[in-house]
Symmetry: D2
Subunit: 321 residues, 4 copies
């Protein structure tokens, strides 16, 4: 099978892993979740078992089951299902990569290992290469998130230099950082390639679009996908003023919850509120979002009128709330 | 005198303080420097005694002399001369603010104190307010640079909330960080004001322009002002593709020098190369840029053909070098 | 079975996981390794599958096999075999804890999860409690290493407050940090308990002994166990001058290798040199120590005369090398 | 005048700068403060204009006045008055060094500059050398505090290597960090010298004494000097159990206030409480300690019976508070 395969474009929702009140995985709502993303949010790509999905809090066995369920339920509905197979153990990462290929996923993504850390770019590439080799027919995405992994010494731009010689299945980057010099140079230095440059800092996506991002992976696209798609469309049509209005509106919500403390637990609570599908609590070491958080978030969602964005098109957006 | 005064717009060069080989200030070239900025780079605003100007490495007496020289030589040539008066000592900051008013500067800017640090937003505002009060007729700019000051707990957006009640002369922000959620919300929440939102991360200015920046302060505008002005113009005319080409071209140079080690010492060397005006070595604790750096930077400047940008307009920019 | 069980005392070697040149676990040398620790280094306690043992780079299945091999080979030779069962996934941690009990280990140790992080002391305790509950008959040790986990908000002293109410099997602390206020208060506030206070910063063990440490866990005890035991003995006999001589001698070696870059890869190389037992290369994301490192380390070991320490007793230690 | 001069030994109080309610320096109580330190706390050395003294929050002119007042009032009462002359500006640091010599201070101390930072050990030494040269007859102390200055790349042990060739007046080190490998190697590698090795982390002084510290500089010696001297005496007499009891008792207080938020503001409040001499509020960017803090600290001081330590000698210290 020749590379590049079908390019990953537009919004990619980093899926939540729904759980029961006991902290077991609630597979039963995944079908409904797929439909919700497609129909209500207009999002047709997903990124499974990432940070938002508590991927590293699951056992390897659970990660396999979750991946399989999303692939099965997404069939003929979703465009692409990317499985995050990063792990601290290379062996486990390889096992997950091979499994992703077996179940018919559309790609795999890998984070840099972050306990014992690769000291140089070359060691990191060697690690990624070993994972990629376990799924030689699957597009490979590198998930760059230096603040979380502490692997700050390796700039993405340097990693991409000649990457296809080492990882022939390399097909893109999830860039979760605000260093847009590094991101911009990834785009600039690889114009001849068909790489996907997916931005991962939802609250400032517009700043990356202007720098050449071809798509985005994030948790907020679970519930703000429709609004963000409107921003993408405005940007595409060169209506920057409208695009900025959408971005600001989205920022108001994120800015609000960031001040309250915003993480995976809170994302689960918000998604439950917005979609009506029960996401359940997170698993330890996370703790369920507080009632206060949920109430405040709900009030904010209402005050921002996040069900209708039509007024934005008239340029009437007012500052505030 | 009523506020707001004339709005600070477009590019603002963070001036270098020229020195002799002995590390004394070389006042003699400042007149020539003014002419160079205006005529060759199209930059008519300056930010004096900031990080680039080694402001905190100078004695208070030297800071006064430097400020005075720039105001004198800039008269009738520059639009606005902003003096950075931030200091660890409130008293010295106040003395410098008062002096800036006396010599007829157009505004003052202040960094958060960063040895003993303000613990809360309110304490920081109190500090800034005391400085501003020493120059009640001068526009006041807050210089937000959390990575350098370590004052990361205070988001700019929160600081700006109701700022005019506390600092009536507040007129804008130099935002030197890549957190464009914070920056975006500064813009969004203050649409009714006439504040200047000046971005301070030169290598990704385009990402802030799309988020509402009204101008920029930086060291690279000393020698890349003309190119950056072309980017601003393309952005203004909604030619985003061209704007991005300019941004990428600028990034290629910065990306190159960042890998070699890029700071004030290197800025002095580059400016000497590009302008022909001797900037001299930095003062301790900095050390003169190495010969290797200077040679490499010069070769890169040539390879990027930084004297002519006409090819960009044809969209022929090629990746590389 | 009643608690506290036999107290863990003295030196505990954080075992290396020997590997073949292909990066597979080399079980065949573990018996020899046990004998070496006991006979040559006088170390009779081990800490298996920790950082030094690349525990988190192994698959769960490998971790089980490694633990089992150490317990088997250590039988009747070692005093205590502690298995580190920390993992990012609570489920896997529980599985490993239960397995440790089944194979007859003497205790389990757990690191705070460090990808998604516990936000508060209570959440961290809940996590640890769930792991401990999977092995209700085994002594439980908390492995405190804030710099590595980033869980800096939870001070060990606060965690220990009332810990037996929550984790009845709690029996001690591996404290891998230089904050000896926190460590001292752990000791001071728990005098009535029979907890083990094991220090984990080998190069400054003496500073913790004086603060009440009851033992130590570390990688250097694999090859500096004998020397460190001599330091412990001198300290026990209140010969502080001699104890300091031993500490300085040990520091000279560690200081030397720290400057060269010192981690698990280098520990494997040094142990191979000193013990003659082949430890093999590390697994990705680590890379084999360079030849230059190994040569330098060998020369240093010789120059320090690390085979005989008798001169120290005469107080003739000279500064240098 | 030959070096080394009289060695600086034992406790050195980092003096507070007393202020009036308006934030002006209250010179009138400095004489009383000297007597209090000598008579009530048994502390006869001081470190003026350091962090505790808000040295960097004062103007250069104020720093000169404060230094002069302490030298004058300390005459014939204090053993040594060390003036901290560190500043971001080399010129100001030199001016202060020269002034310290003129007024008859016993030594100067200098912190690494921390806004623009020295990139290498050699540049830092050059900076320090230039300051030292401005006071060629005064003992010079380097104030190592990497966490505050961010100059973490330069280990003190490396800085001291051959230091007398570069700074002939070098006479010691204030080491404010918990890296006792670095500290230990400073001591170990310089046994032939008469350097003072002053530890600056009050709450764990005992851990540095055992590693060879010859004295200590800190803020708590203003009010815990007597108790700390008792610890020093017990250590000197090799009564380690008693020394540890004193250390734990001191830790209980510091541990308590650390949890409440402990800095210069709080030190001023505690010193006012304990000594009865009004220290006044701090200057911006600090804010007066809250009433809640002061009340809690007072209650804790009482509960620890910090007026009498006699019970400790009987070994009856009980855990708790």
């Amino acid at each position: 099978m020749a590379f590049p395969k079908k390019k990953l474009q537009g919004l990619v929702a980093a899926t939540i892993t729904p759980m029961t009140e006991n902290g077991e995985i609630n597979f039963s709502v995944i079908g409904q979740y797929v439909d919700y993303l497609v129909k209500e949010q207009g999002v047709k790509n997903i990124f499974v078992n990432g940070t938002t999905g508590e991927g590293l809090s699951l056992s390897v066995s659970e990660r396999r089951q979750v991946a399989e369920e999303w692939v099965t339920k997404g069939k003929d509905k979703l465009d692409q299902v990317i499985i995050h197979v990063g792990a601290l153990s290379l062996k486990e990462s390889q096992e997950l990569a091979q499994h992703a290929a077996e179940i018919g996923a559309d790609g795999i993504a890998v984070i840099a290992p972050f306990f014992l850390k690769p000291w140089t770019k070359d060691i990191l590439i060697n690690f990624l290469k070993e994972v990629a080799a376990a799924a030689p027919a699957l597009p490979f995405y590198y998930y760059h998130i230096p603040a979380l992994t502490g692997v700050k010494t390796v700039r993405a731009e340097e990693l991409l230099d000649g990457i296809l010689d080492k990882i022939p299945t390399f097909q893109g980057l999830k860039f979760s950082d605000t260093d847009l010099l590094d991101f911009g140079q990834c785009v600039d230095q690889n114009r001849q390639q068909q790489f996907a440059f997916l931005f991962g800092v939802d609250e400032q996506l517009l700043s990356a679009l202007v720098m050449g991002a071809t798509g985005a992976v994030g948790s907020t696209y679970n519930y703000l996908g429709k609004k963000t798609n409107q921003m993408l469309e405005a940007f595409e049509q060169k209506d920057f003023s409208l695009a900025l209005n959408y971005q600001f509106c989205i920022q108001r919500f994120i800015n609000f919850v960031v001040k309250l403390g915003f993480g995976v637990s809170q994302t689960k609570a918000i998604m439950t509120l917005v979609s009506g599908i029960p996401m359940g609590p997170p698993r330890l070491p996370l703790q369920k979002a507080s009632r206060e958080f949920t109430d405040s978030a709900e009030a904010k969602l209402k005050s921002l009128d996040f069900l209708s964005f039509t007024d934005l098109k008239d340029g009437n957006l007012e500052a505030g709330s």
